[in-house]
């Protein structure tokens, strides 16, 4: 398998940097700049599954936003298929931690959301075609028979399945997943990890998967990219080779798995400590970081802050 160094990588980050201007506050009347990412260079091959770990506030989500085209880098280039990313596109799909399902639409209508309007080939799908596709992708994520349910009638795991189906439905090449399983309970998470691997194998998508779980990163990824504490740099990329993992074997208790896990853990450990000492916290969408109590494992996007910045 070509590991990044192939002829044209699917995704290529070249010396990417991103800064935020922090609005003036009581403590800092002049405002300041916050460097979220610095000098990130990374190639991802087509069909690869790469996971991204890093301490809180290391710019993981910022990196994903850059790939999704929701923001532009201040330095360097983000290339998909050799072309610079200038905005969101249907060749990439984002799966969010909080599902982001449209509550007024049924599961099937949510999946069909990305199919409405003219597609990348300039063709409009008929209502029947959209419904067929929605049913097909709900089946793929194991939700046959739930087409007419509203999101509030579904459990967290089911909601995330719908969200994954919605992202797959318009057939992007790249799936960008931002801690998609972080809000789920352990059992559901494990189940969905399994399903995601199955879907990845059967569809051949390129997947970039952000997580704060080391186990999850090692279990899912062919490579694990470890980000440093802020400003986020690429600290190291760990190749994961767990061998054949068919059957019901408990991969997580294999010696190889534990070895990889430990490697990622020790790489991350220093960075987490540094982040904690500096009191880094999650970077908010408006570019500020609260940097209050050091928080590591639980991210709490503050709703009020979000709605101020984005609603209009």
């Amino acid at each position: 398998m070509t590991r990044g160094a192939g002829p044209t990588p699917k995704i290529s980050l070249r010396n990417v940097g991103k800064q935020f201007t922090v609005r003036p506050s009581k403590d800092q009347p002049e405002g300041s700049t916050l460097t979220a990412l610095e000098g990130i260079t990374l190639d991802v091959a087509a069909g690869e599954f790469i996971t991204l770990v890093g301490p809180s506030g290391s710019g993981k989500t910022t990196l994903l936003d850059l790939l999704a085209g929701l923001t532009r880098p201040d330095a360097g280039q983000v290339l998909v298929d050799g072309k610079e990313v200038t905005g969101p596109g249907r060749d990439r799909a984002v799966v969010f931690q909080q599902y982001a399902l449209f509550p007024w639409r049924t599961a099937a209508a949510n999946v069909a959301f990305g199919l409405e309007g003219t597609g990348s080939d300039g063709r409009r799908l008929s209502r029947r075609e959209r419904a067929d596709k929605a049913r097909h992708y709900l089946e793929l994520v194991g939700l046959s028979g739930f087409e007419d349910r509203y999101p509030h009638e579904l459990s967290g795991g089911m909601k995330q399945r719908v969200a994954i189906a919605r992202s797959l439905a318009y057939e992007p090449d790249v799936l960008l997943m931002d801690e998609p399983f972080a809000a789920l309970d352990a059992q559901t998470r494990e189940q969905l990890q399994e399903e995601l691997l199955r879907i990845w194998r059967s569809t051949g998508k390129t997947i970039i998967f952000i997580t704060h779980g080391i186990d999850e990163a090692v279990y899912l990824g062919q490579r694990v990219a470890v980000l440093s504490s802020r400003p986020g740099r690429l600290k190291q990329i760990v190749d994961i080779d767990l061998g054949e993992r068919s059957g019901d074997r408990d991969v997580r208790s294999d010696a190889v798995f534990i070895e990889h896990r430990h490697k990622v853990w020790s790489l991350l450990h220093d960075e987490v400590r540094k982040a904690q000492e500096a009191g880094h916290a999650k970077i908010r969408p408006d570019g500020s970081a609260p940097d209050e109590a050091p928080q590591l494992s639980k991210r709490q996007p503050s709703k009020g802050q979000l709605s101020k910045g984005r609603a209009a």
């Binding site: 905005g87 249907r90 969010f96 449209f102 509550p103 309007g117 709605s307 209009a312």
Partner: protein, 296 residues
Amino acid sequence: MTAPTLTKDLTAPATAATGRPPQPAATRRLPAVARSGARRAGRGIWASGAIVLFLLLWELGPTYLATASTRVFLPPLHEVLRALGSLIAKGQLQNHLAASLTRSASGFGIAVVFAVALGLLVAWYRSLDRFLNPLLEVFRNTAALALLPVFTLLLGIGETSKISIVAYAAFFPVLLNTIAGVRTVDPLLVRAARSLGLSNFRLFLKVILPSAVPTIFTGIRMAGTSSILVLIAAEMVGAKAGLGYLIVNAQSSFLIPDMYAGILTVSLLGLLVNYLLVAVERHFSRWRTAVGSQSN
């Protein structure tokens, strides 16, 4: 049907073995059903108790408690109902009701269309909001009825002035709730839609508008109530038909039971309109968790 046979099958051997008289599940369940039925009936009685007491007081109070002169101005309920019946029989009530409904429906309709449109624009364009907001605040805090003389002077005492004042009164609740509805759209949904590459217009149509609909309908419901309120007042000042006119005219003609019949119609109409608008609001917000989990 099957439950008693089932319990008999189950309990018969048990009786034989223990010798104790069986207590079939059906008989245990029956009191439970009866109890919950009784509880529901009891709650129903309790909920309508205040209304019943009020009507009783209205019926008996004037006859037994009030002085003769007061009784003239506050006739007992049965006299009012008789007056109501004769108004209906003569077709007068229907005419007044139709006049009032036409006015409030037209004014209300105009208000909803323009308020929703303006609300969407104001919520979308920040600069428009900054420009218009002070003026809107001034108008919003000017009671509609205070402007009634202005409307009458400028538009006469015909239909135009009445429809206009209803539209004015209904405009602001819808406008403010539309703005609030658009402003409180979950930013994550906007992000999700943006990541799909939706244009501004389609984002608005497919995400912002549907998610604002329940809030907009709350405003529409409030507007419905206030449009009737203002209309009745407007009809009292200058009109030749309508429920407000019926009430004032009956008073000045000393047809006191007729006046109360008019008042009763107004309150029933208000209840009905509110009930209908609540039903519509619920229909459009059924995807919301709180409402959905209750109705399902």
